[in-house]
């Protein structure tokens, strides 16, 4: 049902500075679309689909997005609803919007999660740095890292998916985008992870990060002279140490698919 997308997987293999110069039709026209459908509120997309010829463009765009992100149209509609709910019917979403989600307040790595949404590296467009606002397409792009694998995927596609997911995690850790996770960065990660567990957590964090780093170093570079220096975890090493985690089948969430059965049947024929 979900078609393999050669473009996307190819892009993953090339890393963050990868290819894919798909013109962002969504961003360009997002303004006028919103002016028309924005009034309709949360049900914009669903309503638009039913409203007739003049409203077919969002449907097309959804199809376009579906092709590129691998989501189904239903999922995109649901995510779009949520996007508008978060942004308060704006076209773009800002960090404050996400920070105000009440359930997120308890999450120890909240900052990093939100940061990942505004990280340009996760957009597959070969840019680095972060932006202040993201549109729906970018939002969807980030979400697409959390799609589950499907039964029909070939081994290579699975591998590509795994790398893509790992790259996402790697980017979350590698805050300065230099291709390595340094000890300082790694300590920061563990510190954040334990930030909700009080003083014990803070004290233990550094020791844990050090031990973890040591483990990475000794797994990947077994022989080091006393004067050698292990600069940090590269992506290859990162892959190596997380081999056992089966990231491709674990890093996913269940995206809401309202009319599950009917929509799926409809989609597989389309």
């Amino acid at each position: 049902m979900l078609r393999p997308r050669a473009l996307r997987t190819g892009c993953v293999d090339l890393g963050p500075r990868g290819c894919q110069r798909v013109p962002c039709a969504w961003c360009a026209r997002v303004g006028d679309r919103a002016s028309r459908t924005g009034r309709a509120g949360g049900a914009a997309a669903a309503a638009a689909a039913a409203m007739g010829a003049s409203q077919t463009r969002p449907e097309h765009r959804h199809q376009d997005l579906a092709d590129r992100t691998g989501f189904s149209l239903e999922q995109i509609k649901n995510l779009h609803k949520r996007f508008q709910q978060l942004s308060g019917d704006e076209d773009t979403i800002s960090k404050e919007n996400l920070e105000s989600i009440p359930t997120l307040a308890n999450n120890p790595i909240r900052k990093q999660i939100i940061g990942a949404f505004f990280d340009k590296r996760n957009q597959h467009r070969g840019e680095a740095g972060s932006c202040d606002q993201i549109g729906f397409e970018q939002f969807l792009m980030v979400m697409s890292h959390f799609r589950p694998p499907t039964l029909k995927m070939t081994a290579e596609e699975k591998e590509a998916m795994r790398r893509e997911k790992l790259r996402f995690l790697f980017n979350m850790h590698d805050t300065d985008n230099d291709g390595t996770i340094t000890l300082v960065e790694y300590r920061k990660v563990v510190e954040e992870l334990l930030s909700k567990s009080g003083s014990i957590g803070q004290e233990a964090a550094e020791a844990i990060a050090d031990a973890a780093m040591l483990e990475v170093a000794s797994t990947n570079v077994p022989t080091m002279g006393p004067d050698d220096f292990y600069e940090g975890i590269t992506f290859e090493h990162f892959e190596q140490i997380l081999k056992g985690l089966e990231m491709e089948s674990r890093m996913h969430i269940r995206f809401l698919d309202v009319d599950t059965t009917t929509m799926r049947c409809g989609k597989s024929t389309s």
Binding site: L104, L151, L193, L194, I200, D210, A217, L245
Partner: protein
Amino acid sequence: RHGHAGARRVCRGLLLLLVLVLLEGSVVFPLGAASSPDVDPRGHSEDRAVAEESQNYSKKAFPVLSLDYHHIHVPFEIALWVLLASLMKLGFHLIPRLSSIVPESCLLIVVGLLVGGFIKLAGEKVPPVLDSQSFFLCLLPPIILDAGYFLPIRPFMENLGTILMFAVVGTLWNAFFVGGLLYAVCQIQPGNPSDLHNLELLPCLLFASIISAVDPVAVLAVFEEIHINELLHILVFGESLLNDAVTVVLYHLFEEYSGAGTVTILDGVLGVISFLVVALGGVLVGAIYGFLAAFTSRFTSHVRVIEPLFVFVYSYMAYLSAEMFHLSGIMALIACGAVMRPYVEANISHKSHTTIKYFLKMWSSVSETLIFIFLGVATVDGPHSWNWTFVTVTVLLCLVSRVIGVIGLTFVINKFRIVKLTTKDQFIVAYGGLRGAIAFSLGFLLEEKHFPMRDMFLTAIITVIFFTVFVQGMTIKPLVELLAVKKKQEAKRTINEEIHTQFLDHLLTGIEDICGHYGHHHWKDKLNRINKKYVKKCLIADERGREPQLIAFYHKMEMKQAIELVESGGGFKPPSALPSTVSMQNIQPKKPAAAKPVQRALPQLPKGREEEIRTILRSNLQRTRQRLRSYNRHTLVADPYEEGFSDFIIKKQKIIELEKKIIHMNNLTLPAAPPDSPTLCRARLASDPQAYRPKRDSVPTIQVDLASPQSPDSVNLMDEFRANGSRREEEEDQGLTMRPRGEDGRREQLTRCLSDPGPSADEDEDEPFLP
């Protein structure tokens, strides 16, 4: 080859010997061997004997040696059986080639057949070894408790829906499909001489419900050997555990009504309600006892020796209580074990944890062995009535219904699952549906007068069990290889994986929250938070037991390294399984990080002081060596877990304290961060760096001790241990000044620890085990 044959001969010899001993028990003392039913006549004869004896009292001399086998015969025979089982288990491990081809369960059944045959040959009555009383009350609980206590909760909960689907719907489907078709087959043969057509529908269904449940004992025995991946293992195994409720309800339902002959719709509804009561009630009873056990373990810190007992007794009570109400005892045990484990483990001492682990493993493996042997014995013994049609049809229907059931259910399940089950997975799930001794015992429970076909049922059940255990059990391993089904990865968890597991949990929860869709991760997170906030506070005594999982994992890892360190004789070893030369200094940033606290910079030491430190370190090293030698001398399989760790901690603390003292002494005004790296600073601890260079052949522990507390936070970490009590600190001081009394005392304590885990020895290991 010679060795192989020799081993086999030895094994056979053992077997013969054992059987002889066993028979001797029955033959040589015919009085004793007459088993329990005819106690009465024996009792009379004894009375007579006593009477005679009293008459002739004056004539007889005092019996120097008398023989009263009957007095001990029940426990003696039990002990003999257990001995036989253990020796068999031992024997199979001596013949690795045989056990690599044939699963142990098959071999054990064969042994049981042989033993049964010998008993029969000797003309003795075979004891009803696998009757439901001994099976359900003694043999089964240890296996289930072992499974429940060490249940991998995470994959179990993640796949709970699928497991329940297979366990409930799958078993129901199997029961009705097999039962219905079996009845139909029986009906179409009116001319069959064996009056099969007299069989009613309800006994058929009853039989089918007995035979359709996958058996946890058989599954465990086979799946443990094929090392299949976690998902498949938990699917099949979880199904075998949870289908108990269905089996219990179906069994009682059909048993109840096969007398009446008709089942109305109301009965069906009552059956459904009864299923819910049986399943949920079982879980509830188990959970209550689990929480009770956890709560009790909160207060056991002064009576460490009986800690393991609480776990066993509470679990057994849960099982019995559930059985008392005809609830699902298996589910109660599983729930009890799974609920109590995290809390109990945080409360009890490390030794108790080891004890629990060993006892559970020991009991369950002996039980399992006995069950399979008994299956063999019961096969020889049982009254059989072989009916080709019935048996063949049963076996075929079992296979067919299992395959159809799994494929059909997976089709439905895959619509909801995110990680879909592939065709290979389905095949293994279907093929792994082994039947076992539970079915036999349930069949054994049937009463002859209500079920005239009981013997035929038992024969068919045994055939199905043998078929699944022998044919499927033996071929599943090659098939797994052939299909290249993903195996379980053996590697132990690394700290990086642990970090990322946690990270992923939070990340996925966060993403779900952003999506606004409250999925599994969201609820899991919520549950975790409640658990941390309220439940743990009630059930865990120690503050440290409540630390986050990641830190707990880290502590455990550190402990393991300490053990490795001690086991390797205090040699220089990096904290990694791999032989590598990477040490802390390779990953520490060379430039002085601004974040580094000032205290890290160690000042120069006066020469005398430094010499003193070195002597202390060296003497400590010697002491460790001595102790290690004492381990070796007595060839004790060292459980140096606690000893090693506390030793390690003490050493670490000494260094830390030393460092602090030095700082305190040398400079009241702390210097600013020095221009060179902390490593260099530490190297400068010795004014001649030669002595401190990590030469492996020279004094190695110095390197170890220095390498470990390198980061300032591990220092702080150690402070926690120090907070455990000032008593230990005093002890350390003794160690520092090397008073001989202190050393002797410790040694004494050590030997005590090894021989008898008395309470005084336990004072030393207040660290709870960290799961």
